[in-house]
Subunit: 224 residues, 2 copies
């Protein structure tokens, strides 16, 4: 087995991206489940800037930031390639990976909205819909099964993990976010994505994930 | 000459990154100076998601987002390489490029602070100093001339353009941001950086840049 350790949280969409990448490529690794409240000294040492997971440690050397880790894995183990080989397609894929990261603040706002922090604010589901509309209209096509075409690429990994969070937002806020009629292509893509065997086998349980994240948010708000 | 067009703003730190990259590599291109108020229909068509410059158009195909463009250029024209070849060093460089992007909101907050929008807010220079301290302590070393070592890499390009903005913030806010005693390594690095011949030749005039950005901010605040 490679000297490969992943520090992460099973319910984190960012950790999920790395897990999916490693599993899709069939790379064995040691999973180190971090405690959200008491992060390990190793994690804090490996990621002194953000003090966040995931961190992948390869032969003692730490790599931080989920999509940087995904590209690193793809460079070291290029089989089942996730980053397009063509420079132009690669740039386009990175553009949408970057767009996925732009969505994150709206997702966090939506998660914290219901739990008491957002009474005076606009409902953040609207902002999420704006993002989904951009993806639906400008990035998807009914001619492709995945963002990557016939197989998954980095864009599927980036958006897939955030879509997993949309379920949690639906559960926490008791609203429908991924409306099928509004976003038929996205709906169809996400069905394709979560039915890929490796993704399905490493797709955290919806109920357990929603309960865990809800509890974390409630504790954070209570102590703030 | 390559069929290569750059839509940008001469005073934009993001456009600067692409200009420096093209000039360092000696690649000829057509410069299309955009009008900040009336962006060209081509720019809006090339970047429908953000409607922002820079956009590099290579043989009719648009690439958006400054650091994605820089990596694209480095892949197509690999001489005077800016992205480290070693996958681990590459991941580290991408981490710091990403960190540079995390600094942008603090820079914008500081620019808009003096011009009337920030009376009730905390002085954003403090936030910028926090970022600079992270870079000073964790990314720099007195053993290296540049972030890239003996030559410039993507981290120098990413931070260099933002440091150019720090001068503008100093002029607009009439404060000292890059304090030599606080950040001796950064101060020394930036001196090395701006003395690289190609950078020096393509370094927008400080006074003109500050005046232009100040005028844009004042107009934006007046119409908001």
């Amino acid at each position: 087995m490679e000297d490969l350790k992943l520090h992460g949280f099973w319910f984190s969409p960012f950790t999920m991206r790395v897990v999916w990448t490693l599993k899709l490529k069939g790379i064995a690794y040691e999973n180190i489940e971090e405690d959200w409240v008491n992060k390990s000294p190793e994690l804090l040492e490996y990621n002194p800037v953000y003090k966040k997971a995931p961190v992948l440690v390869h032969s003692g050397k730490p790599i931080c930031e989920s999509m940087i880790i995904v590209e690193y894995i793809d460079e070291i183990w290029p089989h089942y390639s996730l980053v397009p080989r063509d420079p132009y397609e690669r740039a386009q894929a990175r553009f949408w990976v970057n767009y996925a990261d732009q969505m994150v603040p709206a997702l966090f706002a939506a998660l914290y909205f219901k739990c008491g922090a957002g009474e005076e604010k606009e409902n953040p589901t609207e902002k999420i819909w704006e993002h989904l509309k951009v993806i639906e209209d400008q990035c998807l096509s009914d001619k492709r099964k995945f963002f990557g075409g016939d197989t998954i690429n980095i864009v599927d990994i980036a958006f897939g993990s955030l879509f997993k969070v949309l379920y949690t937002i639906e559960d926490v806020n008791e609203v429908k976010v991924i409306e099928t009629e509004k976003f038929p292509l996205l709906h169809s893509w996400f069905n394709n994505f979560k039915n890929v065997t490796v993704i399905k086998e490493n797709f955290p349980d919806r109920e357990k994930m929603s309960a865990t994240i809800k509890s974390i948010i409630e504790k954070a708000l209570a102590s703030s």
